[in-house]
């Protein structure tokens, strides 16, 4: 038997849960700041409802991309090309030729472009042994270049009513894009936590050597992770195209930074092997709520930026603080039990 003390009592608390609670706390604080600063807006329930839906809708495309990014990071990689993939997929799916195939053709094109670029990323990284940072940075540059080439550097307007209506449709009163986000987050959660693919992702990112020794095809799995990220970008491209009713080579600018930041704030380790989908979603929502807070208070860009950096730091510190003090509390209680 392992000595009793060597098997600490099952942690009743869960790291991830606490982290997410911390983020919920951060969100609450942001909302309270909103209420305090703009009470007249928050006193109207229908505005509040709309506002929540707006925040969610604005988070939807980047949220989908962040789900893919979270998988890539948990799997030990990074994907700097997500914004560029969105641009390429968006531009490709809104060329006049593609638009002539209708909404189905456009969606299909966006997804195929996303998957194909992801595949190239994955193969370069897994089989070409390129560092993910460099491979996807190169892809960022190339894909944006190709998107500019295809679009002739013009904003391509989507004339397809079905595509454009994706952004306006509200089944059951909730925007379709929010439903899509919910679906992708749900699917991502199941994929990460309930499938062999997800469990292997953790293994590949956490201890690639152990994964290899356990018979997992680490290279193939790595390729699949980038393909998954590319697929999410394809979905994101459709969502963003429908929102802007157009696509252009410069769209989704710096989405890579936003997605990585959201994933990390949500508790995903940049070094791989650990992360949560729900946390990533909260990370995205924090950013989207901050933007909303700035908008309703009409902050100037420069002040906005100064404050935003501070909020990010405060959010992470707050989250850590909650987490640590909670853990200490529970640890002390546990020790009490032991001795």
């Amino acid at each position: 038997m392992i000595a009793e003390t060597a098997l600490p009592k099952a942690p009743k608390y869960d790291d991830n849960l606490l982290r997410n609670l911390g983020l919920v706390g951060v969100l609450l604080v942001l909302v309270v700041i909103g209420i305090v600063t703009r009470p007249e807006l928050y006193s109207d329930p229908s505005w509040v409802r709309d506002n929540i839906l707006t925040i969610l809708q604005q988070a939807s495309a980047i949220g989908v991309v962040t789900v893919g990014m979270t998988f890539v990071i948990i799997g030990g990689g990074i994907d700097l090309s997500v914004g560029a993939i969105i641009a390429l997929a968006g531009v490709w799916s809104t060329t006049l030729a593609t638009q002539s195939y209708g909404a189905g053709g456009m969606i299909f094109t966006a997804l195929v472009v996303g998957v194909a670029v992801g595949l190239v990323n994955g193969v370069l990284i897994a089989y070409g042994k390129l560092v993910p940072f460099i491979a996807t940075l190169a892809m960022l540059v190339s894909a944006r270049g190709l998107a500019a080439q295809i679009s002739g550097k013009q904003t391509q307007v989507s004339a397809n009513e079905t595509i454009n209506s994706l952004a306006t449709a509200k089944p059951l009163g909730i925007p379709l894009l929010v439903w899509i986000l919910a679906l992708v987050v749900g699917a991502g959660w199941v994929l990460l936590n309930r499938t062999t693919f997800g469990r292997r992702t953790v293994a590949v990112g956490g201890n690639p050597e152990a994964a290899r020794l356990a018979g997992i095809n680490v290279k193939r799995h790595t390729v699949l992770l980038y393909v998954l990220s590319g697929l999410c970008c394809g979905i994101g491209a459709i969502m963003l195209t429908s929102q802007a009713t157009s696509a252009q080579a410069a769209m989704a600018n710096l989405y890579e930074l936003d997605a990585i930041a959201a994933a990390i704030i949500g508790g995903t380790l940049l070094s791989g092997g650990r992360g949560t989908i729900v946390g990533a979603l909260f990370g995205v929502l924090v950013f989207s709520t901050i933007t909303n807070l700035f908008a309703i208070n009409n902050l100037a860009t420069e002040v906005q930026n100064m404050v935003k950096g501070g909020i990010i730091v405060a959010a992470v510190l707050l989250q850590q603080f909650r987490y640590r003090s909670f853990t200490n509390l529970l640890r002390r209680r546990n020790v009490g039990n032991n001795s």
């Binding site: 038997m1 392992i2 000595a3 009793e4 003390t5 060597a6 098997l7 600490p8 099952a10 942690p11 199941v190 309930r194 499938t195 062999t196 693919f197 469990r199 292997r200 953790v202 293994a203 956490g206 201890n207 050597e209 152990a210 994964a211 290899r212 020794l213 356990a214 018979g215 997992i216 095809n217 092997g273 650990r274 640890r331 002390r332 546990n334 020790v335 032991n338 001795s339």
Partner: protein, 501 residues
């Protein structure tokens, strides 16, 4: 009994190293075949070839009579060879059950069947005598011994004909080893063959049927009976004749204490620990795995913050690592890879990690003098290879341990904390390490030693402390204790004197 595995003239080279240089091995159904050899002899490399991790450059492998060259770990597993690797090969952020079934998860359409996996894991763990390990717990929460058991459970989860165990007992305490042997006997009774690697000859005599000895990548003796006298086995490995060689020495008494620990406590780890170490004295701490010894050492060293109590070295309070090192304390931590080594850096830089500032002039490092000093230490420790410019990563485990100990021989260390200093260290190197520790003590250095090998504690230390569940429960001169007494204390905690602290 038929041979299910037969290797002949197997060769494997790494850049600049011929790790296997003509290995012969024959394993029969249902036997426990032990592999013996010094650190770096090629044991782990050999089993990695069998496990499909490395591919042999030359030679023949017959598995159940057929030529065999596994292309991947999966291929080896499918063929019926399961392996417990020397370095723990678990994923910290997966649960116990997920680790056990990693790569061959019970699943339906890609969805894991968690309850099935948990149930089967529980069954295997129960067979292993560890029903207390919860299949759903994250592996990172388990102590090293628990992880070793999970590794074992993983090997058993395959339908294997041959199970290879690379130093499974290194992180196990005495009773754990007995349990391991029970399992091995059950396996062999079912016709499963076991290849067993260990540096402890007593274990080999107890569990082994036959022994193959490797030296410098070559088989120097194949299929000897396990009862072969120690003298001959050790001779085949090294040219020496004894397993534990403790140089005789006399305890120095009377000097004022060098280290004084007073009522030291850390919540959940240990409580109310008081002890002293005098200059030139070797104090050993015995205890079960998980009794809190490592945490105690780390706290004394200042690497963890005590909740209560004080540590003084020569009358000076120690509150942080920097200060501890500056005042002449050194520690060889338990997990050398994660806690002590810069694996990609050369040996000499690892050896001077705590003292390079001392070699430097005005902030400029003196690589030449560092190298020379490291070379002298490498000679003292009989490091193999003697090359101090080689990255530590390419050294075998035992030699890596020597590098860690060597680090504290370079500075002006006056108190050395050793946590499991001989884990994974071969017989020859072990004797060398013992000699080094004795020489240090003779020079007036105080040593505080933690080891799970009771003979080591008894043979090396002047005074022994017994720790159980975070408390010191007994203290006596080494001469007044024997192995059984210590084991009783460690496990039951109260047997004879019962003077619990």
């Amino acid at each position: 009994m038929t041979a299910i595995l037969r290797l002949s003239e197997v060769v494997k080279t790494f850049p600049g190293v011929r790790a296997l240089d003509g290995v012969h091995l024959e394993v029969r159904e249902g036997e426990v075949h032990c592999l013996l050899g010094q650190n770096g002899a090629g044991k782990s490399t050999l089993i990695k070839v069998l496990a499909g991790v490395h591919h042999a450059d030359a030679g023949e492998i017959l598995w159940q009579g057929e030529p065999f060259a596994p292309a991947s770990p999966q291929a080896a597993m499918r063929a019926g060879i399961a392996t417990i690797h020397q370095e723990l090969d678990l994923v910290d952020d997966l649960s116990v059950a997920e680790n056990v079934f990693l790569g061959h998860e019970p699943s339906r359409f890609g969805f894991t069947r968690r309850h099935g996996a948990a149930a089967r894991t529980r069954t295997i763990l129960t067979e292993l005598g560890h029903p207390e390990i919860p299949p759903g717990r994250l592996t990172r929460d388990l102590p090293a011994a628990g992880k070793q058991i999970v590794s074992m459970a993983r090997a058993l989860s395959h339908d294997a004909r041959l199970i290879v165990m690379d130093e499974p007992s290194a992180v196990l305490a005495h009773d754990e080893v007995a349990n391991l042997f029970r399992i091995i006997r059950e396996l062999t009774a079912n016709g499963i063959a076991v290849v067993y690697i260990s540096h402890r000859l007593a274990e080999i005599r107890e569990i082994g049927d036959r022994v193959t000895v490797l030296k410098d990548g070559r088989t120097t003796a194949a299929g000897l009976p396990a009862r072969t006298p120690t003298r001959e086995l050790v001779g085949r490995m090294t040219g020496r004749a004894f397993e534990y060689v403790f140089p005789p020495r006399e305890a120095k008494a009377g000097a004022a204490p060098l280290l004084e620990v007073c009522d030291l406590s850390r919540a959940g780890e240990f409580a109310g620990v008081s002890l002293t170490v005098r200059p030139g004295e070797i104090v050993g701490i015995a205890g079960l795995v998980g009794s809190g010894r490592s945490e105690l050492l780390e706290t004394i060293f200042g690497a963890r913050v005590a909740d209560r109590g004080t540590v003084t070295l020569d009358g000076r309070r120690i509150t942080g690592v920097g200060q501890a090192v500056a005042h002449g304390m050194g520690m060889a931590p338990e997990e050398r890879k994660s806690q002590a080594l810069l694996l990609d850096e050369p040996v000499f830089k690892n050896m001077t990690l705590a003292s390079f500032t001392g070699f430097a002039r005005a902030g400029f490092t003196a690589a030449g003098r560092e190298r020379a000093a490291a070379r002298r230490t490498a000679d003292n420790l009989e490091l193999r290879p003697r090359d101090v410019d080689r990255p530590v990563r390419t050294l075998s485990g035992g030699n890596q341990q020597k590098v860690v100990v060597g680090r504290w021989l370079l500075g002006h260390t006056r108190l050395l904390l050793l946590d499991e200093p001989t884990r994974g260290v071969d017989v020859g190197a072990r004797a060398e390490l013992y000699q080094v520790v004795h020489d240090l003590a003779a020079d007036g250095v105080g040593v505080l030693l933690v080891s799970s090998e009771v003979p080591e504690v008894l043979g090396l230390a002047d005074r022994v402390l017994v720790m159980r569940e975070g408390r010191l429960i007994h203290e006596a001169p080494a001469g007044e204790l024997d192995e059984d007494t210590v084991l009783d204390l460690v496990m039951a905690g109260s047997l004879m004197e019962g003077e619990a602290a």
